[in-house]
């Protein structure tokens, strides 16, 4: 018995937790890790754009419109108003990344709460929430985004609102199904049998087991969100000129494709590279976290 008492107060062997394992597996995936680094660089460049010694992204001159890529002083050429493309692309990342990522973050918060409530409480609450979600699912996402944005009118806030509304239903659906499956597991029943309240059980036993899959799903939506956000600006529904934003730049440069096509295609290339990286990082996370579809 003395041995056992000693054992009770002895320091406990700690084994590796879940997240350090995920980080290790993610680092071992060269494609995903490389894309994560590239994304990080894009984001840092966007945040610290004013300190990178770039030209003024708003200052144009009719005298130097649509210069080619590689023109001295304008490494990526100039746009239809003679503004430096490199500066506009770096600054453009600010709005495009913000407009693409924010709705997913907002929808992740709202959708997770809705899904947790629907999945854990069940019954009539579940029916009300999930049937509402079904109705929004009856719209293709592009159509819904354009419908709401089109009705609200152009603007950054309206674009964020409409994209958030687009992504809440799919995240809610995933959150609900994951929560419902965790809720039916015996450890939740065991926690209930210990007399814990619903809030404590969700905090201690449910949240940690559902956040991972919901998070992975949300990251897979970020690329779609980026493309949609830039698409709204492309249609004239998001950011207004003269702000640098990749979608809007692509639209205003459309007329220039006969004069200087490759400069005109640059903003789209940025959208493509960012969205590709987001998808590859999301895939890497999915396998690092062992989330099944």
């Amino acid at each position: 018995m003395a041995v056992i008492t000693e054992s009770i107060v002895a320091p406990v062997e700690r084994t590796q937790g879940y997240w350090s394992g995920v980080a290790r597996r993610f680092r071992r995936d060269p494609v995903a890790a490389g894309c994560a680094v590239l994304l990080l660089l894009l984001i840092l460049a966007a945040i610290f754009a004013p300190y990178l010694g770039l030209a003024d992204p708003y200052a144009g001159s009719m005298a130097r419109r649509l210069r080619r890529i590689g023109t001295p002083g304008f490494p990526l050429g100039t746009d239809e108003l003679g503004r430096d493309m490199l500066a506009r692309l770096v600054y453009g990342g600010r709005l495009t990344l913000f407009l693409g990522i924010t709705p997913v973050v907002a929808a992740f918060s709202i959708g997770t709460v809705l899904g947790l409530v629907a999945g854990y409480v069940g019954g009539r609450t579940n029916t009300v929430i999930m049937r509402l979600v079904d109705v929004f699912f009856a719209f293709p996402s592009v159509l819904l985004a354009i419908a709401i944005s089109g009705a609200l009118g152009a603007g950054i806030v309206n674009s964020l609102v409409s994209l958030t509304i687009v992504f809440v239903p799919p995240i809610t659906r995933v959150a609900e199904s994951v929560t419902a499956s965790v809720r039916s597991l015996d450890y939740v029943d065991a926690a209930r049998a210990s007399g814990a309240g619903a809030f404590t059980i969700v905090r201690v036993h449910v949240l940690g087991n559902v956040l991972g899959p919901i998070f992975v799903y949300a990251t897979s939506l970020t690329s779609v969100s980026m493309i949609l956000a830039a698409g709204l600006s492309f249609l004239g529904l998001g950011v207004k000129p003269p702000e640098p934003e990749w979608g809007l730049m692509l639209n205003t440069l459309r007329t220039a494709i006969y004069i200087n096509p490759w400069v005109a295609a640059l903003p789209g290339l940025m959208i493509f590279v960012t969205s590709l990286c987001l998808n590859l990082v999301s895939d890497g996370l999915r396998s690092a976290m062992n989330v099944r579809d």
């Binding site: 029943d189 049998a193 007399g195």
Partner: protein, 359 residues
């Protein structure tokens, strides 16, 4: 009854004395609605537990057997309050659940160990945190709860220093089930419900866990309700046995009496279906054929009549009540010691040809 005057999570005192059954379950009913359509209208009802009554005597082990879907797990979950009762009473040591006893208080006294040792432990919590969760919910401090968790790990045979910080996936099935037992004991319960708790384990591990359960019962003055489909294990561990069929009790009595007499044809069929290692011990009775009938629309009268080889007209028409089994030496001495079964053949004058005439 209030828990506030007790130290956090101390064992509940014995209030009713040894003669008071620890649990009296009276006419428990639980029906699950089947919902469908866009708004989830109720389109049917599963009679999972339909009028089940029994008692659990202090200090005994009550075994519950029956085919899957007979309502034994639902009965277990009703006893812990994981599922709300539709009708009936649960009386725990003299206090009725609802007016004299809150659900939270009941859960202090009754704990449960589940079949799936992996699904019953949160994969994101260490073993120690899983065991300490319950006491903390009931107001025990962090350090004290941790200490209790380690003490319990030691008493279920897992060295605390090695196991406390581990995650469930780093343990074997038998070790996990020991953790589940420790978690149940952390609440200092008086009744532990073991729902197929050893069924998924290897035979050798199963024996070790059964021995552990027997030791813990003695040390901690526990009462067990032991649910299993393995009749040999139930016989080994139980003082009394209850046989369920389609949400009803068909036979209940002392283990040896039930195993010797098999008064209800369903009990007999269940035992006949049990494989025996001894060729000479094989029964001539046909094993149970087919699946149980649909619990959404259970048969009239005796629910077993559709599969019973003794079935007669009366069986489909009249539901037999639990009646004492004739010829039992100890029958009728005390209610808890009685051997009863619900079959027309056991009641004289019931109208069944195998029963005697009017008494």
């Amino acid at each position: 009854m209030s828990a506030t005057d007790l130290a956090p999570v101390a064992p509940l005192p014995d209030r009713g004395g040894p003669q008071q059954p620890l649990v009296i379950a009276r006419d428990l009913r639980r029906h699950f609605p089947i919902r469908s359509g866009f708004f989830g209208r109720r389109t049917g009802t599963v009679h999972a537990v339909d009028g089940v009554s029994f008692e659990v005597v202090k200090g005994e082990t009550l075994g519950i057997v029956g085919e899957s879907g007979c309502g034994k797990s639902t009965t277990a979950r009703l006893l812990v309050g994981l599922i709300a009762l539709d009708e009936g009473d649960i009386i725990f040591d003299g206090d009725r659940l609802g007016d004299q006893l809150s659900l939270r208080e009941l859960r202090r006294g009754v704990q449960m160990v589940f079949q799936d040792s992996y699904a019953s432990l949160n994969p994101r919590l260490t073993i120690e945190d899983s065991i300490a969760f319950g006491p903390k919910v009931h107001g025990m401090g962090e350090g004290q709860a941790r200490r209790r968790a380690r003490e319990l790990l030691a008493s279920v045979g897992l060295e605390p220093a090695r196991f406390a910080g581990r995650y469930p996936h780093e343990l074997s099935g038998g070790q996990r089930q020991r953790v589940n037992i420790a978690r149940a004991l952390a609440m200092a319960p008086r009744l532990v419900i073991l729902d197929e708790a050893v069924s998924a384990l290897d035979k050798s591990v199963e024996a070790q866990v059964l021995n552990l359960l027997a030791d813990l019962k003695e040390e901690r003055d526990l009462t067990y309700v032991f649910i299993s489909h393995d009749l040999n294990v139930v016989r080994y561990i139980s003082d009394r046995v209850m046989v369920m069929y389609l949400g009803e009790v068909v036979e209940i009595g002392p283990a040896e009496a039930v195993y010797a007499r098999k008064a209800h044809p369903y009990t007999a069929a269940l035992f006949a279906a049990m494989p025996s290692m001894d060729p000479d011990a094989r029964t001539e009775e046909p094993p149970l054929a087919g699946d149980p009938p649909n619990p959404i629309d259970p048969p009239t009268g005796c629910r077993f009549h559709t599969r019973c080889r003794f079935a007669e007209a009366v069986c489909a028409a009249v539901k037999p009540a639990l009646a004492s089994v004739p010829g039992e030496a100890r029958g009728g001495e005390a209610r808890a010691e009685a051997h009863v079964a619900a079959c027309h053949m056991l009641v004289a004058g019931s109208g069944h040809s195998a029963a005697g005439g009017a008494a």
